[in-house]
């Protein structure tokens, strides 16, 4: 299906962001069952599956132009949202190559890449970019290669160096994060940067996930879904700007929860990079207002059960307690007690 892009939407101030019916139906709903607990829920990132966002290597959707404009605003205010340690330059070029090739291959009407030896020609039509450069020579690009290409792809990214049988977060582009700070976390090992997550350490989730990822192979990316909730469709929910978005959480009421409150889902994919042996971690975020989500019956019913029964420590970590009851009450009328099928599919073709 051809991808059509919406004109620029906003993710701050007046929050003009909304999902079309098509975007709602392709939303990666994260709950295959009626309950939720941490697990090593990784699977091969192969095309196709339970949600259409799995169809491409890197999914682009109708919000592309607004996403990239919001990233540019955030970087203008705080350039340290993009940092890469000096020893990761090869991984920067690996990232640029993987993203350019994937986008050009999956969306030829929007992106094209032409190579003549190390002389590359990149066209990004939605952002009106036409760039010739020399692969491996960063002075031929307007930004360092990792920043250059991640300013043109939705979602956050981090670069993991692999050494000493561990992964170290030695770079990233992080402008739409669920309350974590690249400037604080850069250079950390796998267990260090996951330190604040409750429950999962005891369950051995991170030990097993690390062992799994250390064996990640080139050409065989993996994926998982993660989620949280966000007051207003705001991308920049960073610790740095918590004094800006914190009051928006407190302004949620039973009356406005359906419009303002959003389920925020991350499609996380991990890709082994060929030259550097680093891992590119893509955290592709999707937002949906609760009033949009309930247009899919199965999801409305399941949301009620998951949020109602969520472990208190997970709710606390995800910042839900202040408005959790409003969310439960909002979904309760949709839950008629029916038995739902396992899986995340919408199970309806239209809205």
């Amino acid at each position: 299906m051809k991808l059509s892009l919406k004109p620029q939407e906003t993710y701050r101030d007046d929050y003009t962001f909304s999902n079309s019916d098509e975007a709602i139906l392709r939303f990666p709903f994260p709950f295959p069952e009626d309950g939720y607990m941490y697990s090593v829920n990784m699977e091969p990132h192969v095309r196709g599956g339970a949600t259409p966002v799995y169809d491409k290597v890197f999914d682009v959707d109708e919000h592309y132009i607004g996403d990239m404009a919001d990233r540019a605003i955030t970087l203008d205010q705080d350039p340290l949202r993009c940092q890469v340690l000096p020893h990761m330059e090869t991984a920067e070029w690996d990232t640029l190559e993987l993203l350019m090739e994937s986008l050009a291959n999956d969306y030829p009407e929007h992106f094209s890449l032409t190579k003549n030896g190390d002389k590359w020609h990149w066209i990004n039509r939605p952002l009106e970019i036409d760039q010739t450069f020399t692969f491996g020579r960063k002075e031929t690009l307007p930004y360092d290669p990792f920043e250059y290409i991640t300013r043109q792809m939705q979602g956050d990214f981090s670069l993991q160096d692999q050494r000493d049988n561990n992964l170290y977060m030695d770079g990233g582009m992080v402008t739409s994060q669920a309350d974590w700070s690249l400037n604080f976390d850069v250079g950390m090992s796998f267990h260090e940067w996951h330190g604040p997550v409750p429950l999962a350490h005891q369950a051995g989730v991170f030990d097993r996930a690390l062992q799994y990822l250390l064996r990640l192979q080139y050409g065989k990316p993996v994926r998982r879904l993660n989620w949280t909730m966000t007051a207003n469709p705001r991308l920049d929910t960073s610790p740095e700007n918590y004094p800006l978005w914190g009051p928006e959480k407190a302004a949620i009421t039973p009356e406005n929860v359906g419009h303002r409150m959003c389920l925020r889902v991350e499609l996380q994919t991990l890709h082994r990079l060929p030259r550097s042996n680093a891992i590119l971690f893509s955290i592709r975020g999707y937002l949906i207002r609760l009033e949009e989500l309930v247009k899919v019956k199965k999801w409305a019913v399941r949301m009620h059960r998951v949020i109602r029964d969520l472990h208190p420590q997970i709710a606390e970590y995800k910042g839900l307690p202040r408005y959790r009851q409003y969310v439960v009450d909002y979904f309760a009328p949709f839950d008629d007690g029916r038995t739902l099928n396992s899986g995340i599919a919408a199970e309806q073709d239209s809205i």
């Binding site: 250079g187 267990h191 260090e192 350490h201």
Partner: protein
């Protein structure tokens, strides 16, 4: 268990070392230095009066502040010989500052031993204005620069040798819970 927080063993000299440099933010050498070891150098923090240094004696070299001490550490490690073992003893901020200096000087992590000692105080990084607040005794502290009341998350950065501080009343200004004194 939160594993961003390092775990520390009690202080003991490493028998495989040929020389030992012990740097502490306290005013006395640690207990547990055994007579059977040679080539032991101890750096402490102590002054004889306002601004007045205490002279080195008996393998113990006092500095007037941890700042003075750490400022000289890189120079000292720059002329180290093979077989040196390095020990840092003090607050988490101090020992990880020392660790980062030792790594920058070319030491291997296996040659470095860290031991937390002294009062339970933390260095806190203000996520909002990036100020470092030193010697914080409890889990809520006011940033001296941007004036945010910061909650100290149980999240530690070895690179910054600091814990993460995030505005505690960002959602409802003034809603600040009672602070809890650190016990670890």
């Amino acid at each position: 268990m939160n594993t961003s927080r390092p775990l520390y063993k009690p202080f003991a000299l490493d028998p495989s070392g040929l020389a030992h440099l012990i740097v502490t933010s306290l005013d006395t050498p640690p207990e547990g230095i055994e007579d059977s070891f040679d080539n032991i150098e101890v750096w402490t923090v102590k002054h004889a009066g306002p601004g007045v240094p205490v002279l080195a004696a008996g393998g113990i070299r006092p500095f007037r502040s941890t700042t003075e001490q750490l400022a000289q550490l890189g120079h000292r490690l720059g002329r180290m010989t093979a077989g040196l073992r390095f020990y840092a003893i003090g607050s988490e901020a101090f020992i990880w500052d020392a660790y980062n200096i030792a790594i920058a000087a070319g030491m291997h992590p296996s040659e470095i031993f860290l031991h937390r000692a002294g009062p339970f105080v933390r260095r806190v990084y203000c996520s909002h204005c990036r100020t470092m607040v030193e010697d914080v005794p409890a889990n809520i502290v006011t940033c001296p620069s941007c004036e945010a009341s910061l909650f100290v998350r149980d999240h530690f950065s070895r690179r910054l040798a600091a814990f993460m501080g995030v505005k505690v009343d960002a959602e409802v200004p003034g809603e600040v819970p009672a602070a809890e004194v650190f016990t670890s």
